[in-house]
């Protein structure tokens, strides 16, 4: 198993270099350069020329590309043009804030989605099944930006149950448990917005999967033997049915950054999404690449985790 792990992790290195190369190329062909973000506006041409030279932006593209890739291979993601600080540090500093939203949202979405999907499957073909299916389809179709705004309007603005924005209150510095409670209070709405977004596809996959499993012979046999339906579901069906759910949850990790860009913008949450959006608008290449590399690592790790979970859930995979 550890050999397998090491091999999988080693395989990510060329992948990450590939991501760095593609991101570099994409920013290179996009119009605009970071010089305005570095030097500001209303400047004289000599100043911009000076700044281009200083940041190496005047060198030919192949030369810059080679230097950049060499640095990434050595683990140096470069210095942010705009912030004049190491790009990796800028992204990693923002990571905990994003994980604070995404991790509970993924967990809740998995629980909620699986539960709703299983309930719908058990009442397969009934009105409540149709209603739940329609609900999850709607959930998947609604833009997270819109859901987030709606949550703010109803639960923060009208009902005033939660704060409108931010990660912490601004008046007075809470300490210890009070601070934790304050952050938790601020987390509720953004986590809810992300959870609704993530739960919908999980519910759909879980429903389809459970319906499929319930029609298999071994379950019919179990039911025919007179075992209670609930127990059959828990003991026999769910274990098999959960396999595709694991895949879909892992795939959601890919939306980690996209989802958080929008949710973090609505809730003024200081995470990776905000960092990446700002860096893209400023053409701050080192930071954009660092953020996308982080995303690539997250996707790889999520898939690895999914494979391990598969092995745990399905003895055939484990023994193969």
């Amino acid at each position: 198993m550890s050999g397998y792990l090491a091999r999988r992790l080693l395989q990510t290195i060329p992948l990450l270099l590939g991501v760095a190369a593609v991101v570099w190329g994409m920013i290179e062909v996009a119009p605009g350069d970071p010089i305005v973000a570095i030097a500001g506006e209303d400047g004289d041409p000599a100043y911009y020329a000076e700044m281009r030279e200083r940041f190496g932006l005047d060198r030919p593209a192949p030369e810059r590309f080679a230097a950049y890739l060499g640095n990434v291979a050595r683990g140096d993601l470069g210095t942010s043009y705009r912030l004049q600080r190491p790009a990796a540090a800028v992204v990693l500093e923002a990571l905990p804030a994003t994980l604070l939203l995404v991790a509970p949202a993924l967990l809740l979405a998995t629980l909620l989605g699986t539960t709703l999907g299983t309930l719908a499957a058990r009442r397969h073909g009934s009105r409540s099944d149709a209603a739940l299916s329609a609900l999850s389809l709607t959930g998947q179709a609604l833009p997270v930006f819109w859901t987030a705004q709606l949550l703010v309007l109803v639960f923060a603005y009208r009902l005033a149950w939660f704060p409108v924005q931010g990660m912490e209150g601004l008046r007075g510095d809470a300490e210890g448990l009070a601070r934790l409670a304050d952050v938790a209070h601020h987390m509720v709405l953004p986590v809810a917005a992300l959870t609704l977004q993530y739960a919908a596809p999980v519910a759909r996959v879980a429903r389809a999967s459970v319906v499929d499993v319930l029609h298999r012979d071994y379950l019919r046999t179990a039911l025919a033997k007179g075992l209670p339906a609930g127990r059959v579901l828990r003991a026999h069906a769910l274990r098999t049915a959960l396999l595709p759910v694991v895949t879909v949850v892992a795939a959601q990790m890919g939306f980690l950054v996209t989802g958080s860009v929008l949710v973090e913008t609505v809730f003024a949450w200081p995470g990776v999404g905000r960092v990446m959006l700002g860096a893209m608008l400023a053409r701050d290449l080192p930071v954009v690449t660092a953020a996308l590399l982080l995303l690539a690592v997250a996707v790889v790790l999520a898939n690895l985790l999914a494979d391990l979970l598969y092995a745990a859930l399905d003895p055939r995979v484990r023994d193969a």
Binding site: A30, P31, G32, D33, P34, V36, A37, A39, G40, E41, D42, G43, D44, P45, Y47, Y48, R82, L83, Q84, V90, E93, A94, Q149, V152, L153, A156, Y157, A160, P163, V164, Q165, G166, M167, G169, L170, R171, T265, V266, F267, A268, P270, G271, R274, V275, G278, L281, A282, R283
Partner: protein, 533 residues
């Protein structure tokens, strides 16, 4: 016969007393408010929402609005500009203009200390200008770089700016937004772009830096040793970065923040009674801003003044102002904003809305309509945030056979296409005059500034007479003669129309009713702010 009984008289008297009490009660809040305005209360934390994140807090290396919105409360300039643009003492308590405007001598205060306790001296001024402002503050570098001969410091509290030729607008360039003074003991001989103090600044200003969390919050506390007696009133100032405009407004209405910079014009009418909207003639990035169209004069048919005048007759600026800018501002008539009334000419040629006249001009320029009624097709570049403005203008021009193709570009792409590659026909531009035409107006028109630099002379306009008039106006110390020179240059530009000036833009800030004393004419607006809670 008198029918009035004593009882009636009593009732009338009582009524009068009741009325008087009611009136007095009604008048009381107003009187209290006036009294309260006169006597500010000390203490409290003001929470300010702003839209853009802040990369660092060194206002001397950037003209970026968000940095200045925060850092201008930490630093000071040699002078500060009043609501009407008059220079008042700040770090300099007095000054003399010598040799007809060739030398400016400033007498500095001797009771000012940096937030870390070091004394403020003339060396701070010299090092800030020589090593930082004249190299990295783009407007100061562009405006003074070629004119300033040297900065002399005859003693610890005297600074002299020596120019090659008389220079008229120096004082307007010395407030904190244009020339913040940084501590020499931290910056001298160091690279100001990468200095660690950029993230933990040390100033002389009314507020002391305390904490900086990027994308989240910036906390400042009162400078108890501030040199302006009794100021500031607030104990602390917290800036929260909230990128989404709707979230900003809801946070204000829910009292999570007290004051919002960059309040959208579209929300002004919607704002409830618990929100006080303040109209300001400047954005965080500069004063007296205008929307305008820039024509690329290097491309036909925009090299033909008749085509540009046809645009002027076709675009309904009054409707643009009312419908799209929500009436927040004025119709612009020329390159110098009417808010700069010392220099704005009010007898300029006008181009009233007249589509028939526009079509005649297009005919004369050799652009007859084709079978579909189209005379001319052109690329129209704009920022996505100005899409509604651009769409309205496109519809107006379609009426006279001009077919504009809308191209929405983000800032970096726009700058590259318009100023770098010059690959555009017409561009929508928002730019600011600032405190003097020599700062914000001249650079957009003089031929030496046709260059691949953002917000330079985008049309590629070259006119020797305009160059001469702007150069003379910048160096003439006599206000009367300057006024005549700016009059002449405005007439010439409005005849030529390298730009079509559309709207003099107003910006908004909004706060809860408890917030008093916001100085909306400056970026360091909170020195006199207090909370009536």
């Amino acid at each position: 016969m008198n029918t009035r009984s004593p009882l009636h008289a009593l009732r009338t008297g009582a009524l009068a007393v009741v009325l008087a009490v009611v009136l007095a009660t009604l008048a009381l809040p107003a009187a209290l408010a006036q009294q309260a305005d006169a006597e500010p209360a000390r203490g409290g934390t003001l929470v300010v929402a702003m839209f853009d994140t802040v990369a660092h807090l060194n206002p001397a290396i950037t003209t970026g609005g968000s940095v200045h919105a925060v850092a201008d409360s930490i630093f000071d300039g040699l002078v500060r500009l009043d609501a009407d643009g008059t220079p008042r003492p700040a770090l300099a308590e007095a000054w003399e203009v010598l040799e007809d405007g060739r030398i400016y001598r400033f007498h500095l205060r001797d009771d000012v200390t940096w937030h870390d306790g070091e004394p403020f001296t003339a060396r701070d001024v010299r090092v800030t200008f020589e090593e930082i402002l004249l190299r990295f503050h783009t407007r100061t570098r562009g405006g003074l770089g070629d004119l300033l001969e040297e900065i002399r410091t005859p003693d610890a509290h005297t600074v002299e700016f020596v120019f090659d030729a008389p220079y008229a607008a120096l004082l307007q360039r010395l407030d904190v937004s244009e020339a913040p003074i940084l501590p020499a003991h931290l910056y001298e001989g160091r690279d100001p772009l990468t200095h660690e103090a950029n993230r933990a600044p040390v100033g002389t200003g009314p507020f002391v830096f305390e904490r900086f969390r990027r994308d989240d919050r910036i906390d400042l506390v009162r400078n108890d040793a501030y040199f302006r007696d009794g100021l500031p009133y607030l104990d602390a100032l917290t800036f929260r970065i909230i990128p989404d405009p709707v979230t900003r407004m809801l946070a204000l209405e829910r009292g999570e923040v007290d004051h919002v910079l960059g309040f959208p014009a579209s929300e002004v009418a919607r704002a409830g009674d618990d929100v006080v909207v303040r109209t300001v003639p400047h954005s965080a990035g500069g004063s007296f801003c205008q929307f305008k169209l820039a024509f690329n004069l290097d491309r036909a048919p925009f090299d033909d003044a008749r085509v540009r005048r046809a645009f002027a007759h076709a675009v309904d600026r009054a409707t643009l102002l009312e419908r799209v800018a929500f009436g927040q501002g004025r119709v612009a008539t020329g390159p110098i904003s009417s808010d700069l009334d010392a220099w704005h000419a009010d007898d300029l040629p006008t181009y009233p809305l007249d589509p028939a006249r526009a079509e005649t001009l297009l005919d004369a320029a050799g652009l007859p309509p084709d079978a579909d009624g189209v005379r001319l097709e052109a690329d129209f570049l704009h920022f996505p945030m100005f899409t509604r403005h651009a769409e309205t203008i496109r519809q107006d021009l379609a009426q006279v056979g001009v077919d504009l193709r809308m191209v929405a570009l983000d800032r970096a792409s726009y700058v590259a296409r318009v100023y770098g590659d010059r690959a555009f026909d017409v561009g929508f531009i928002s730019s600011c005059n600032n405190a003097d035409p020599s700062i914000g107006v001249a650079p957009m028109h003089v031929s030496s500034n046709v260059a691949p630099a953002p917000f330079s002379n985008a049309p590629g306009y070259r006119d020797a007479e305009v160059d001469r008039l702007f150069a003379e106006a910048a160096t003439d110390p006599d206000p009367e003669r300057r006024r005549a020179l700016y009059d002449a240059v405005q007439h010439r530009l409005v005849e030529d129309l390298p730009y079509l000036w559309l709207i003099e833009r107003r910006y908004h800030q909004a706060s809860t009713p408890a917030v008093r004393g916001v100085e909306t004419h400056r970026t360091s607006a909170f020195t006199r702010t207090w909370l009536d809670r």
